[in-house]
């Protein structure tokens, strides 16, 4: 699968309107993965991915922060969700967009994970699963 096919697949599975939107989501998911990816595992996991994606998967530390959890992971992806609908949509103290942005972010994670998994061997998937925060691992497995 080349880079163009990768983006087209993310766009289709996520229901995104443009390739730019698909890239924004994919790059943020991959950068979140990079936060938890030890250098020693990175090469093995990324070998089968389009080379254009590797810039996002470059590990940020030799050893990842062991306290980087699912909320921090989600933070990278929520940034791609229009959480306020462009203006304040507060209804009785509940911002109806922000309140459900987590569900949408998880859906976006899973859409990228599903494309990644289609490119990875079982062994690569197992290695990646071992790196992810526990809750993110559940999303990955279910994708």
């Amino acid at each position: 699968m080349n880079y163009g096919q990768f983006l087209a697949d993310v766009r289709k599975r996520g229901g995104f309107a443009t390739d730019d939107e698909a890239l924004a989501v994919a790059s943020n998911v991959l950068m979140a993965v990079a936060e938890v990816l030890p250098q020693r595992d990175a090469e093995g996991i990324t070998a089968s991915l389009p080379p254009e994606l590797l810039v996002y998967l470059r590990p940020t530390h030799a050893e990842p922060d062991p306290h980087f959890d699912s909320q921090l992971f989600l933070g990278w992806v929520v940034s791609t969700v229009d959480a306020t609908g462009g203006r304040d949509k507060t209804g009785g103290g509940l911002d109806i967009y922000a309140a459900y942005s987590g569900d949408e972010a998880i859906r976006r994670c899973q859409c990228v994970f599903s494309v990644l998994k289609s490119l990875m061997s079982d062994r690569q998937q197992a290695t990646m699963l071992a790196c992810l925060p526990e809750e993110v691992g559940v999303w990955f497995s279910a994708a």
């Binding site: 943020n28 950068m31 979140a32 936060e35 940020t60 922060d65 062991p66 306290h67 980087f68 959890d69 909320q71 921090l72 992971f73 989600l74 933070g75 990278w76 992806v77 929520v78 940034s79 959480a83 306020t84 203006r87 304040d88 507060t90 911002d95 922000a98 942005s101 987590g102 972010a105």
Partner: protein, 295 residues
């Protein structure tokens, strides 16, 4: 970080109501880790906050908590420390609460040097009130209250703290809880006022200063040959922003007296200490008089 105490002792039952992915989650985690690392028991710490998303934090920890009115946690914390210097007092509040509404208290606390640790959740926006620009928003930052971009220059907490006489100034990133916990540990160990400014994305209302934005800019002073006792070097580092943003201890000077060291009426012990003494050797009339004062 291998902690002495299980951080779970600080877990509370209250449901966390922050937005999914909020940087506050990293700060909550780091504070629990730091207290556990220092073997501080829940009853030995008071966390004082103000008003704002991040100021809900005391609700989410099993500790002594005090949510004050907007911008006032520092004077309340100083008072608590004077009443009971044995208590570890930590202030956790946002950039608006600390540098805006409580800006004067911030400056006075820097020069007073009480033995209080302040963790500022600096997301460069007012989140709880739905996204107005804050004192630390960069010039030109577009929000509902600055549709043509913020006019003012951003408040620089590191430089102001240094100029006002703060004895410990550090910066952390909420995306790196391990490093942040270490900064909080060092801040609590420091005798005197410690400021830990935490760069923290607001994932809902600040779409500029995201995790990615910070990741591309931050670097660690610990990885350079940096002398945190050099005031002039700290002044230079305090002004680094945009291209490169330093994390770590910018300035630290030890051995200066704290505010409570110098308050004459505390020379014979703290109010809480004196009260405890009275309860050990009760003199009923004094005890009753103290009770009336406090209750």
């Amino acid at each position: 970080m291998v902690t002495r105490l299980d951080p779970k002792v600080f877990d509370a039952e209250a449901e966390v109501s922050w937005c999914p992915g909020c940087g506050d989650f990293g700060i909550l985690r780091a504070l629990k880790l730091a207290l556990a690392e220092l073997d501080i028991q829940p009853h030995q710490v008071l966390v004082v906050s103000g008003i704002g998303c991040g100021s809900k934090l005391p609700d989410y920890m099993a500790i002594n908590g005090y949510m004050t009115i907007h911008g006032r946690p520092l004077p309340i914390a100083t008072g608590a420390k004077l009443a009971n210097p044995e208590m570890h007092v930590v202030v956790v509040n946002g950039d608006g609460d600390s540098y805006g509404i409580g800006g004067n208290h911030f400056v006075q606390t820097c020069r007073r040097n009480p033995n209080v640790t302040q963790v500022v959740e600096n997301n460069q926006i007012y989140g709880l009130t739905k996204g107005q620009y804050s004192p630390t928003s960069d010039k030109g930052f577009v929000t509902t209250t600055s549709p043509d971009g913020a006019i003012e220059l951003a408040f620089n907490p590191m430089a102001v703290a240094l100029a006002a006489g703060a004895t410990f100034i550090a910066r952390a990133f909420s995306g790196e809880p391990k490093h942040m916990a270490q900064m909080i540990v060092e801040g609590i160990k420091h005798r005197g006022y410690a400021l830990i400014d935490v760069l923290q994305p607001c994932v809902t209302f600040n779409r500029v200063n995201t995790y990615d934005w910070y990741r591309k800019r931050i670097y660690h002073l610990e990885e350079e040959s940096y002398d945190a006792t050099d005031r002039e070097a700290a002044w230079t580092k305090a002004h680094e922003w945009e291209e490169r943003i330093p994390l770590g201890i910018l300035y630290r000077i030890e051995g200066l007296p704290t505010y409570e060291d110098q308050v004459p009426t505390l020379a014979d012990g703290s109010p809480v200490g004196r009260l405890m003494e009275l309860t050990k050797r009760p003199r009923p009339e004094q005890y009753e008089s103290q009770k009336e004062q406090f209750f």
